[in-house]
């Protein structure tokens, strides 16, 4: 409990990147993904907002997709001046926009996301390194997974 309360002092925000294992109709495709995160204490909870983008293109099939994901996770964490580890759960919205041949398309999928993070305060500078692992469930058989490392601000 003490650890939970001390965690309320720390927040972080920054940019991260890593592989996204996106579950298509058949398999998980690995795609490079980049995003931003922001974490702040709200009462006894940690609130984390994320925006993530990934893409995939296959010229021979004239098919291109950009995937975007927005999520807000409420969770708990523990840590202090040097580090913070936490886990969160919340709603997400996945949007896929792209083109196939002459046609453009945009599709939205409501989702649920869970993620765990480890934020490390870098020395005396107000910098944070982030290590993150998460999963996003868009449907019964559509589980995406992602891992990322990032760099940002610590306060």
């Amino acid at each position: 409990m003490i650890a939970l309360l001390t965690a309320a002092w720390a927040g972080s925000a920054g940019l991260y990147g890593g592989p996204l294992a996106y579950r298509g109709p058949v398999r998980h495709d690995l795609r490079p993904a980049f995003g931003v995160w922001g974490r702040a204490p709200v009462g006894p909870l940690q609130l984390t907002g994320e925006l993530l983008g990934a893409w995939r293109s296959r010229a021979s099939l004239e098919h291109r997709v950009i995937l975007g994901r927005a999520s807000v996770l409420a969770g708990v964490g523990t840590g202090g001046e040097r580090a913070h580890v936490g886990i969160g759960l919340g709603p997400a919205l996945v949007v896929r926009t792209g083109s196939a041949g002459p046609y453009a398309f945009t599709a939205f999928s409501p989702a649920v996301r869970a993620a765990t993070h480890f934020d490390l305060h870098l020395g005396r500078l107000p910098l944070a390194a982030r290590y993150q692992l998460g999963t996003t469930v868009r449907a019964a058989r559509a589980w995406d997974f992602d891992v990322a490392i990032g760099l940002g601000a610590w306060w």
């Binding site: 298509g24 021979s60 099939l61 896929r96």
Partner: protein, 339 residues
């Protein structure tokens, strides 16, 4: 304007059936995306229709390429995601383009074969497995037809890269369907045990025959190049001739010699469709003799039978075809019409 689509996947609802589909089509070496109908595809979401139903995953026991198959088990229903724009199905993932292209190729090829009098009713429907596990392996970029014991099209995972995925390449699917034709003629049906097809020499003719129907039906002598650069080893306009590599280790080498001679015939006749008709008839004639039952595969008889058949109708081509035969098959007994 972009149509906004809220997917109904969570509710498990199937999208509407489009009038047309974005599929890879083309001929003569030029392939691209087109909007075409697939009348036989009743359920584009799950890939079900009168040409055969598809499943994803599952397990193929045995060696697909070694002729020792014990069956296909498992597999789950497909659930492609797509939207419909102006009556055209637009897939949200590459898999939709690949699978619709596969089905479209079967649809058009069936129509073409029926158009030249070849009855495909004994072959369809042919179920397919998309990206199954093969003897414990899931990474293999290829497509295949298995007609010995089981009757199944196998579309293996795409290896990525710049090329056209093999399962979306119209020539590759036609080639594989050529194996289904070969099986149905040689084995007297599909899905029946046919040990002769596993003989190395017969396997070489099987590969050559599959290349014949693919190259002739598309009028494309090098249909694989859009997917994989094989350095001309399968280009039937090349100077391929016997002796070939040992069919036991590389059946494609001798098969390409057979297919190259057939392309010589196509050029001499200047009629790909007529050549295809001759090829189909020659296969029946060769199979009727059942030379392998005497312990002699006799696959080298095939090009001679083809030459005799063509020269019976076109004696004016004797000089051209006999010279082509001599160049491809030095030392072999010449066709009767060339003696």
């Amino acid at each position: 304007m972009t149509r906004m689509v809220l997917l109904a996947m969570l509710a498990g609802c199937a999208p509407e059936v489009p009038d047309r589909y974005l599929v890879v089509d083309g001929r003569e070496g030029v392939y691209g995306l087109e909007e075409l109908a697939i009348p036989e595809l009743d359920d584009p979401w799950r890939m079900r229709g009168s040409l055969g139903d598809g499943r994803v995953g599952g397990y193929i026991a045995g060696d697909l390429f070694g002729g020792e198959l014990r069956g296909y088990t498992g597999g789950a229903p497909l659930r492609l995601e797509y939207t419909v724009r102006d009556g055209t199905g637009v897939p949200l993932d590459e898999d939709g383009v690949i699978l619709w292209s596969y089905y479209h190729t079967l649809s058009t090829f069936r129509g073409e074969l029926e158009g030249v009098g070849f009855d495909t009713s004994g072959i369809f429907p042919v179920p397919f497995a998309y990206q199954p596990s093969l003897g414990g392996t899931i990474l293999s970029s290829n497509a295949a037809y298995a007609g010995d014991v089981i009757h199944l099209f196998v579309l293996l995972p795409d290896g990525g890269g710049d090329g056209l995925p093999l399962a979306a390449n119209p020539g590759v699917i036609r080639h594989e369907f050529g194996h289904a034709i070969f099986q149905s003629v040689i084995g007297g049906g599909v899905g029946v045990s046919t040990p002769a097809i596993a003989l190395p020499e017969v396997s070489a003719l099987n590969e050559g025959f599959a290349d014949m129907v693919a190259t002739l039906s598309l009028d494309d002598p090098d249909f694989i190049t859009p997917s994989i650069d094989l350095a001309g080893t399968r280009d039937v306009t090349g100077d391929h001739a016997l002796p070939s590599e040992d069919p036991a280790t590389n059946p494609y080498s001798r098969g390409t010699v057979y297919a190259s001679f057939t392309w010589d015939v196509r050029r001499a006749l200047d009629d790909r469709e007529a050549t295809l008709v001759h090829v189909l008839a020659t296969l029946r004639e060769w199979a009727a003799d059942a030379p392998w039952e005497l312990g002699q595969p006799g696959v080298d008889l095939f090009p001679g039978l083809l030459a005799d058949r063509v020269l019976a109708d076109h004696p004016e081509l004797e000089g051209t075809l006999c010279a082509a035969y001599d160049a491809r098959f030095p030392g072999l007994i010449r066709p009767s019409a060339c003696l």
